[in-house]
Symmetry: C2
Subunit: 307 residues, 2 copies
């Protein structure tokens, strides 16, 4: 175990919010360290094509995340593959425990983001990685020319469907309602692409042997079940906050489990800030970055006042 070190700011999670917070932390003179349990970029890595991040007409999520990582790394150390397991107040400092060591810091930013919500149906665990995916950009390639099902009706489901259609999959979208939630702009694209949509339909089971072979769909209009032959199932029914750390620390969250912050990204706990998707609201990369910048700036201001 590494011995406890002293930092001004520790950032948990290196998605766009965390990377920006790290960069702003160091630029304002704070001894800063960023931990990431996986790799930098968070869910932005999965975005096939981003058209609305200001400054880039079109950029793959992974490419943008890589640019941000390179940029942030000019300032701050980012420790990938080191998960923060616990954080608690110890006298005047926060004690941060990871799998590899323990650290002291005067302030912290929680930017742990969200994870994909699961359908919760039979077969979902069994066939994960064997036909079931939560990310078309990551896994779509394996399903070219094959029939795939996208589950969901929001922006990301439609983006997933478009991406898969575009690389040559035979795409069907299944949505539990009679209307999509996705932005009109995306809906138009979906229409032009000619993606088949099954309305008012619920996935009840995913079947197969070694890999996915079919999906049992319940048609709410006709009140019947049928079996759809597909080789891939892309589940895109939203995200849920990764709030284990926040819950453990007793930080105030809303009823959906997102951390509540004020306009300065302060949480209910002193010198603990939150930024990015974990705070809910408009879940856009540029918003996450802005919150990271604000969180680090608030930490800087609050620490100045401590002296």
């Amino acid at each position: 175990m590494e011995k406890a070190k002293n930092y001004d700011l520790i950032v948990v999670g290196a998605g766009p919010a965390g990377m920006t917070a790290g960069m702003y932390g160091v630029r304002s003179g704070l001894e800063t360290l960023v931990f990431e349990k996986g790799i930098c970029g968070g869910l932005s890595n999965e975005a096939p094509e981003i058209e609305n991040y200001p400054g880039f007409k079109k950029v793959r999520g992974m490419e943008l995340a890589e640019k941000m990582k390179e940029q942030a790394s000019e300032y701050v150390e980012i420790r990938e593959l080191e998960k923060v397991e616990k954080m608690k107040w110890s006298v005047k400092n926060l004690e941060v425990s990871t799998e590899k060591g323990s650290y002291l810091t005067r302030a912290a930013v929680i930017s742990t983001g969200t994870r994909h919500r699961r359908l919760g149906v039979k077969g979902e665990d069994e066939f994960l990685g064997r036909g079931i995916s939560y990310c078309a950009t990551c896994d779509g390639f394996f399903f070219r020319d094959k029939p795939v099902l996208v589950v969901g009706g929001g922006d990301s489901a439609v983006r997933e469907a478009l991406y898969l259609k575009n690389i040559g999959c035979e795409v069907t979208l299944v949505h539990r309602r009679g209307k999509l939630r996705a932005e009109p702009y995306l809906q138009k694209n979906l229409e032009h692409a000619g993606v088949r949509i099954l309305w008012n339909s619920v996935v009840r089971e995913i079947r197969g042997d070694k890999k996915v072979r079919s999906v049992v769909r319940f048609d709410k209009d006709r009140e019947i079940e049928d079996e759809l032959l597909v080789e891939g199932v892309f589940i895109s029914i939203g995200e849920e906050p990764v709030n284990d750390l926040a819950a453990q620390m007793g930080i105030g969250m809303d009823r959906n489990g997102y951390i509540i912050t004020d306009k300065n990204q302060r949480t209910s706990l002193e010198r603990v800030y939150a930024a990015g998707d974990i705070t809910g609201g408009v879940r856009q990369i540029v918003v996450a970055c802005a919150e990271g910048a604000i969180a680090a700036t608030s930490a800087y201001n609050d620490l100045l006042e401590l002296v």
Copy 2:
């Protein structure tokens, strides 16, 4: 005069916030129009070098603004050189009057930004453009190898000083306090660059004939006035909100004249949102963009509920 047209969203001001709001407005299906009294980009055009906008390691402000303009223009019409003079509620719509016409809209985003604060000393008006400038990137070139004075002690003053030093000016920074407000990172650079700093000093007058020849400085420590021979004076003592429109409409502002918004960028007036520097807070391009995105998203949501 053009006849009144109907829009869903009109955005006033095409800095980073307004351009992003315009793009997000159209992408969410709103009939959107952006007005800009000058040219796109706002004060970001003046930033010599931006290192902390996520995604760009180093970019000139003008270049970033240009990229944002190109990108936003793929979606939304931006009318440059058309100043909005008045906005008021008229039954169910906002009536927007510009120099060139009148328009109706169901919602509006105010993103009019800030302008440079003036010193308010003798000679400031007289020598504007003849030795006095508020923007080193714009005018610095004319002062290469010449003695210039930068007035101020915040981030932008230090950036101006560094920029001028770098292009070969003989730079002196004059600051009314004994300590800079600029971020430590910038202060270090300033020290390395060897810029002379006059502490606890106030500019009392700017003198010259056809152009600036000297500045009268009051040294608060020694309680004496002296005359500094300089050919350029770069005033960088902060910005103030461009809030004429907001004041005219009676929108709630804080005591410094910045528009007060909630986390969704809603102002005190129904279906009127504010985004960017006009809302105060952390004045960073990425924050302005995020607020623009959020403002347009709130407009979209609120208009949906109207139907």
